[in-house]
Symmetry: C2
Subunit: 687 residues, 2 copies
């Protein structure tokens, strides 16, 4: 790694987040780069400055021109006007002649005004001045990312089967319905690795229960699905239903594992189960207790989970409902004026996820009483940490799939994320594309969006285009909401076309897995903006193309009714135009601007000079894939090598050096080493 | 005009909308082109079919891939998931080898499923089978548009000063505040023609009143502003406040001018004034009464109006509030379950603009009692018709500025539209760009969006980019909502840059006005998709460039942090790169794909071969502009002529043939005819 310098500045009394694992960062004296103002830090942006980062947040790869907040928010209607999403990732890089990275390790609400109030000014404004501020200087944004990632520790590694196609819906409500979904996939010959169980598999939304009527003999059913090559992935919600004799509730109460309110009573909110208590995940004893509850499902053969509603989402509190109702009663029968009307209306319209709830919730952080509002962004993180830490004890010899909705940096060591409830909007496909590098910068490597869109109704074209991008994201899951049209591949006219792109995903698994593991184990990014690799001024303008791993650049189509798009090549590349996983044309394409045709039946991929794309065979699921049947497409210039990472896909703590096979071409002939079945397309006509 | 064939098919018992003025359309026997199904019409879309039209609606120029509804909707948060906007424009064209246009003259709710349910099928589904269906066949989409526009009558013509820059906010609350806005414009030397008065100029939101405390001596104030070259444009809302001794209310009651409810009582809803009655604009006597009420303001020197809230928007009805409150009382103190909670919450959250209100409203259509729900889309249309018809009597010798939020085809003869409450979103800038041709197809020529965005907070960059597009729209108004940041040009860092684009608008006025008048008086479009003029298959893919008038093509930048964009030229053009109205470079550019630089300080315009762009001088307002100081930039190929339309800008019923001056260049030298002060840039190096 090139030279980077990391400095730590401590302000006030920070709350320990455990985001940073490297405790040896040098304490800075004089603040560098930023200017400290009253309760804020500022920096003057030059015309050419680009700001990268902020993980799961809105808008572009370049974050200039908006104000963002870190405050984990349950809000699927994330229009351009929003400032927060489900994650809170306070790391960004100011990229200019002498770039620097900033991480504000602060678990409360903080805003990043990046040219919003003043088009030329960056303003960082935490709600209180209690945090550790890290500043990293380096030669390039990528070097700064690597230094930051080393500081925060190695990212979560899922089982290899989690790179297969995954199907979900809120909800498949019975085992019969799940069986039918599985059958439809098999009948249509569509590969699939998992089916998700959303909240309805539980007995009245109670964590660590199974509805025995809807899912009789659950353990046998899990096994039945596994024999079809399909793993079931149940959801776990943050809130624990208030119900006498419900084991988790009773245990939590008895052991004081729940968040309390301002008066010291157990805090009561309402989510899917109705009234709930919230486990105090910021308490290590509670984490251990809750994490070990997953054994209920692990012991039934479950190998993966998604943690949801952990911002936490709170639909209402009994107190808030009572206050809104009392206000209604007060005005009942009156000839109300408009102000009174809107007051009443808004007391119900805005009842969900109120700040007031978070201000009335208290944690016991191993002996220290802390208001939830001040550590809001740590909640989902620590729920997932609870599970991740427990899996190391409960399943020490295998990797368990785990990802979360809410997150904070630090959680990346325990699980991945999906980007939360999005909408079936073209703009959310584009947001998904632009967000991937930012997520990687902040350590979130196993990540993906709800392909096709969660809320609102998708269209066949949108689903197809989203899938054409989704085949490159580690988490590839088609998921949608209860009130929307069915979104499984076989519910659309051109099922065969959707199927062929799912097959394409399986062909990409060897490369994706290899690149995922190499990037993760070396603190590198899987998805990079072009400007992270190319010192070409135009690259900072390109926000709709990405480098995926070391070998390829992608250029997804993300607009309705488009049959092609513009592409910028920062150097000559090999344009591989896939009509399917096994049928494609190759063409050398020159550095510069191009318009390429790319209808729903074509997927363009660009191979960088001296790199190879590795393709595997199409298979019914990841474990059924024959790893010896690999095929490489190389773009030879003056050397051409690829380091293929392979492992058993399930053993925790893999080592990079033990798992690499080197494949290379000389300029004379192809020399596949170790692996026998590599076929190489060699193009050497490039200049 | 080339050959077109228009056929009319009458289904059931249509309600007369007066959309079509040509009563001589041939009655068809066998239905052509469409297939009649059960309560719907269908058509199979070919892969290459493009569907244009639907006026003010969502998504692209090509409407394929979504389901749209005509049902005038008060909803500023128009995300991609919405199906209706403020207008209801049931005309579209199926463009393929043998194109045809369809107009369903139906004032109720109707959906247009254009490849949403089935990617290859068009389904038209009115709620009842009572309407006149028109089918127009022609050689090209443009010929079909012209035939349709002739059928529906000549579009509204505003005064020329309405082409100036217009400033608005909800609200400038006092004459002092308006004076300050005017002064800020003058102090900064920024041209301006009008300032808008939103709802707060009225005495407690009562139509045809002025708040004498906030706006003392209103008539003198109107005059004072006019002497500064600024006209005041007050808003008129649809609902009439229920208040004893309020003249409009008392008159309306006495003359039975209000919409009634299902029981025959006057219908009561609530909007800004609190409780209101809704004038029955579908009754000719009421229209005449209400239209003549505008005299109150005309007589104070007002020359323009905007009609708002005329879907009609209804915040609530006393009945609905009482029902919601009673439901609360019923459950008060109960340990409510989640379903009950959501029931209560939604009874308040969804209380605005309920269908149930529209189903409880009744019109007296000159003797026939009709439920509002069945004629919902005619309400805003007839409010504007009321004003437009009255102005012909009250101000027979001048044009009065008039535009509306809700609309239906037919209203285009009485006023323009603004595209309603939008948001300060980049996607709404793009929507504005894509919507302009569709509006023109449906007769709406005087149109524009709230530049900078109405709801949510704008950014300096978004406002600047929106203005760079807005300089081409006939209605150019910067307007924003009460709860957003101030959006006047002088409230941003680079005021000079915003100012120079407003100056650019004034330089464009002679061309825009000329093109507006020529297009309007010949049933042509001012904004055209490229494919309407170029028989080039790639043009159907281009949705972010428009032809504006006969001479130019524009390619706005509509993405954040972009300093350039791709442009497709369907033929060689002259690329004029404006740095300001008076400072620009010209360059010949070849047919094909290009990437052009275009930062916030540059505005690209492309002149078509053998055409000229006419520029006027920058002036403080439209009337201050010296019309003899014209300047032309021509792109000469083998001839080059321009027909300049000029008139006094105020006389109603202008005649095309009386107002044209021909300007032309020969291949030898420049020969400006009639006008002396034309300077021509001649480029003849094109192939």
């Amino acid at each position: 790694m090139k030279q980077t310098t990391s400095m730590k500045y401590t302000y006030g009394t920070p709350i320990e987040t455990d985001a940073v694992v490297d405790k040896g960062i040098q304490q800075g004296k004089e603040l560098i780069r930023l200017v400290e103002g009253e309760g804020c830090f500022t920096y003057t942006l030059k015309p050419e400055t680009v700001v990268y980062g902020l993980g799961e947040n809105l808008r572009g790869i370049n974050k200039r021109g908006w104000i963002y907040e870190s405050f984990c928010a349950d809000d699927c209607v994330h229009t351009e006007a929003k400032r927060s999403l489900y994650g809170a990732h306070n790391f960004f890089i100011v990229a200019e002649d002498k770039p620097f990275g900033v991480f504000v390790d602060y678990p409360g609400r903080i805003s990043f005004d990046i040219g919003y109030s003043n088009i030329d000014e960056l303003i960082i404004k935490p709600e209180t001045m209690d945090f550790n501020l890290y500043i990293i200087e380096g030669e390039t944004p990528l070097e700064i990312v690597k230094a930051f990632r080393q500081m925060i520790g190695t990212s979560y590694i899922p089982p290899k089967w989690a790179f297969g196609y995954q199907q979900s819906r809120w909800s498949y409500k019975t085992s019969e319905e799940v069986r039918q979904v599985a059958k439809n996939f098999k009948d249509n010959g569509i590969p699939i690795d998992t089916i998700y169980l959303d909240i309805d598999y539980m007995e009245r939304f109670k964590d660590f229960t199974v509805d025995e009527t809807a899912f009789p003999n659950f353990e046998a059913f899990v096994q039945e699905m596994k024999e079809m090559g399909i793993r079931l992935i149940p959801i776990i919600d943050a809130g624990v239903k208030v119900e006498e004799d419900y084991e988790t509730y009773e245990e939590g109460l008895k052991e004081n594992c729940f968040v309390t309110d301002g008066e010291g009573n157990v805090f009561e909110g309402a989510v899917w189960p109705g009234k709930v208590h919230f486990p105090d995940f910021l308490n290590s004893k509670t984490r251990r207790w809750f994490g070990h509850k997953y054994a209920f499902l692990l012991d039934k053969g479950i190998e993966g989970f998604w943690n949801d509603m952990n911002e936490p989402a709170i639909f209402y509190t009994p107190k808030a409902v009572e206050a809104a109702m009392a206000n209604v009663e007060k005005h009942r029968g009156e000839n109300i004026d408009l102000g009174t009307f809107f007051g009443i209306k808004d007391s119900f319209s805005n009842i969900m996820n109120q700040e007031a709830y978070y201000k009335d919730m208290y944690h016991d952080m191993d002996g220290v009483r802390v208001c939830h509002y001040d550590v809001h962004n740590l909640y989902g993180y620590n729920m997932t940490r609870a599970a991740g830490e427990a899996f190391k004890e409960l399943r020490p010899n295998t990797r368990t799939l785990l990802f979360s909705r809410a997150s904070y940096i630090g959680m990346h060591r325990y699980g991945g994320i999906w980007t939360g409830d999005n909408c079936s909007w073209w703009s959310h496909l584009l947001l998904n594309i632009k967000m991937m590098p930012s997520l990687n910068m902040c350590g979130f490597m196993y990540a993906g969006a709800d392909v096709g869109g969660f809320s609102d109704n998708t269209t066949e074209e949108l689903l197809t285009r989203w899938l054409q991008f989704g085949v490159f994201t580690p988490l590839l899951r088609n998921h949608t909401a209860a009130y929307t049209r069915f979104q499984e591949p076989y519910n659309f006219k051109y099922t065969e076309r959707i199927k062929k792109w799912i097959e394409m995903r399986y062909a990409l698994v060897p490369y994706l897995y290899s690149e995922y593991m190499k990037a993760t184990l070396s603190n590198d990014m899987l998805f990079k903006p072009l400007a992270f690799e190319y010192n070409d001024p135009h690259c900072t303008q390109v926000e709709d193309q990405l480098l995926v791993g070391e070998s390829i650049m992608i250029a997804p189509v993300y607009e309705q009714n488009k049959t092609g798009r513009y592409v910028y090549l920062p150097e000559n590349m090999l344009y591989v135009n896939f009509e399917s996983a096994t049928n494609y044309t190759v063409e050398e394409m020159k550095k510069g601007h191009h318009y390429i045709e790319a209808d729903l039946d074509h997927l363009p991929v660009f191979i960088r000079p001296n790199h190879m794309l590795i393709l595997g065979e199409v298979a019914a699921n990841v474990e059924a894939q024959d790893s010896s049947k690999l095929h490489a497409i190389g773009y030879y210039k003056d050397h051409c090598a690829y380091k293929l990472y392979e492992d058993d896909g399930i053993t925790p703590k893999p080592k990079l050096e033990d798992s690499i096979t080197e494949i290379y071409m000389s300029d004379i002939n192809v020399k596949p080493e170790k692996l026998e079945k590599i076929e190489v397309y060699k193009i050497s006509s490039c200049e």
